[in-house]
Amino acid sequence: MDTLPWKHGGKMRFVVFVKQVPDTSAVCTDINGNLIREGVPSILNPYCESALNMACGVKKDGDVITAVSMGPPQAENALFRCLELGADEAFLLTDRAFAGADVHATVRTLSAFVKKFIPDYDLIFCGKQAADGDTAQVPAELAYMLGCGQFCYTQKLTLSGEWKAVQNYGSEVRECIIGKGDLLSVSDEEIGFRLPSAADYIRAAGIEIKKLNIADIGLDTFSVGLKGSKTKIVSATPSKVSRRGAVTDGSDPAKAAEHIRDAII
């Protein structure tokens, strides 16, 4: 990890990892309890959008922002959105073999991609977590695999001589100096959302999303996807709704209060 003061100069390469997620309010399961992703509207994960916005915020002329996603072919919609929001190029890592990957297999794929295609990157941005998985594990695992420092819960990135990241841990807010090659995991606070302009749409339409498969990245089928995973989902059941949902009239506050007291004690 290089924490030496690192001057902003020359062309910078920013990599933003994004995920396409189903709209979590519209997910259903089939009779076996498997998730049905087809037919569910997909969106760019909001935290990833924050990460991209942060990268756009520090971008200067000549810098390149690369958006990268792993997923099925239709995940390119999320990358289109990234291009509209300000990314300069986009890669989609898509292969049948990548399906069913847990965090470990995902990170292996992503880090192999970075090492092969963008080894000279300056900063990596990730969203804090995915709206569908909520695990928030990819950024830190990826940081280890790339051998770089990690800055989770980053809500602000500033440049005044050095690059500084403000991290919010809830009970503590701290500012650290970041170095070349480090990874930021971005939480959404304090980042303003920016709407793309017509010019952005036109620019985005002219950029081709590069698709890479397992052979392009140079990995083995046993190290990615379901086969490369370290964890296995044994069962997924709709969470038990044991809520009674009893509705009581509370037009008389005194009676309602007694009712609550009885329910508590």
Binding site: V103, D134, P139, E141, D220, V247
Partner: protein, 349 residues
């Protein structure tokens, strides 16, 4: 493919012979013991975080092997040894370094990796606190282990740890097992009850030094503590939302919470209004809470808020709108004026 590993794309040599799957290299027979990172809270003194003590309580219940604890800090941690042992730690590793009083995830992981390689635990657990959720993945990657985040239930069958966690905003519960050792998980704070500590306050402490140099350059740090404990620790939460129009209601809610032995929390609206600090906010952008009883006064129930209270034992919602979304997850829905019912509740308790 010149010199780089066929499996993982890393340069240099891999540990495994070519073609051998990492799945087969389980090492299960030798791995034994449960390792827990005991997070230290440095707010108004030095304490073990309750999330860590909850995991210890659960570990004692489901696991009968050796329990190893790891703490980071300097000499000020000495008074905590007894507490750690009374909650079931057999061997405590104390990584003693002044510089580690601050949180440096890279250094913490390097140390824990060394310790894990030494004791070869079959399970590694930590709290799904902000720092735990940052540390665990890095450690998992360095150990080549699988990791399950934010578990709400754990059980052990033989040597297999079964981990259950909510997925898809809480609409699904997924049961997950790890096919490699150590099996790693982070545990949602507040899910497991604290067991009473035993009288045993003796155990082995092993001091270790951190030899690496993976420190961040921290140029400023501001502690945002309140004098109270965290809302995630409360057994009863009296929570206020946009249905509360008068600021005086906060005092009444405080009084109700005090009589019930609980705490006051709020929805995002009241934080935006500036009535509450952000640490009181329940929901995905605030805190996920799992109290015994959650009293929602005038909270309509956004998706983010509902996800944050999903693991509460009992939810009682008071709202004048019978169609407020919170009704989907409420055990009791009382249709009425939140403020006057709160006032009345304060009077009769």
């Amino acid at each position: 493919m010149n010199n780089s590993c066929r499996d993982c794309g890393q340069s240099g040599e891999c540990r495994l012979p070519p073609g051998m799957l990492e799945q087969y290299d389980l090492g299960t027979p030798t791995a034994d013991g449960l390792m827990i990172w005991l997070e230290v809270s440095r707010h108004a003194g030095v304490f073990l975080e309750s999330s860590s003590l909850e995991i210890l309580s659960k570990a004692r219940e489901i696991y009968d092997g050796r329990i190893f604890g790891v703490v980071f800090g300097d000499i000020e941690l000495k008074p905590l040894y007894a507490e750690a042992f009374s909650y079931g730690v057999d061997t405590l590793y104390h990584v003693k370094d002044r510089r580690l009083i601050d949180f440096h995830p890279e250094a913490y992981c390097e140390s824990m990796k060394e310790i894990a390689e030494r004791i070869n635990p079959s399970i590694i657990l930590m709290g799904a606190t902000p720092r735990g959720r940052e540390t665990a993945p890095r450690l998992a990657a360095s150990l080549g282990a699988g990791l399950t985040a934010d578990c709400t239930e754990l059980s052990i069958e033989g040597t297999v740890l079964r981990m259950t966690r909510p997925a898809f905003g809480g609409s699904l519960m997924a049961e997950i097992v790890s096919n490699s050792v150590p099996q790693m998980a982070t545990v949602r704070p507040g899910t497991f009850p604290l067991k009473k500590a035993s009288g045993n306050t003796a155990g082995t402490v092993i001091y270790r030094q951190y030899g690496g140099n993976s420190f961040k350059t921290i140029i400023g740090s501001e502690k945002r503590y309140s004098d109270e404990k965290d809302i995630t620790e409360a057994k009863i939460l009296v929570s206020l939302g946009s249905g509360i129009r008068n600021r005086e209601a906060i005092c009444i809610a405080e009084s109700v919470a005090k009589k019930l032995g609980g705490m006051v929390s709020c929805s995002r609206t009241l934080v935006d209004k500036g009535w509450f600090p952000q640490i009181k906010q329940v929901g995905q952008s605030g805190r996920n809470v799992s109290p015994e009883i959650y009293l929602a006064f005038g909270i309509s129930g956004s998706i983010q808020h509902k996800a944050g209270i999903m693991t509460a034992r009992k939810i009682i919602a008071i709202n004048k709108d019978p169609d407020a979304p919170i009704k989907d997850i409420a055990d009791e829905m009382i249709i009425g004026d939140a403020e006057s019912i709160l006032k009345e509740l304060d009077r009769i308790l």
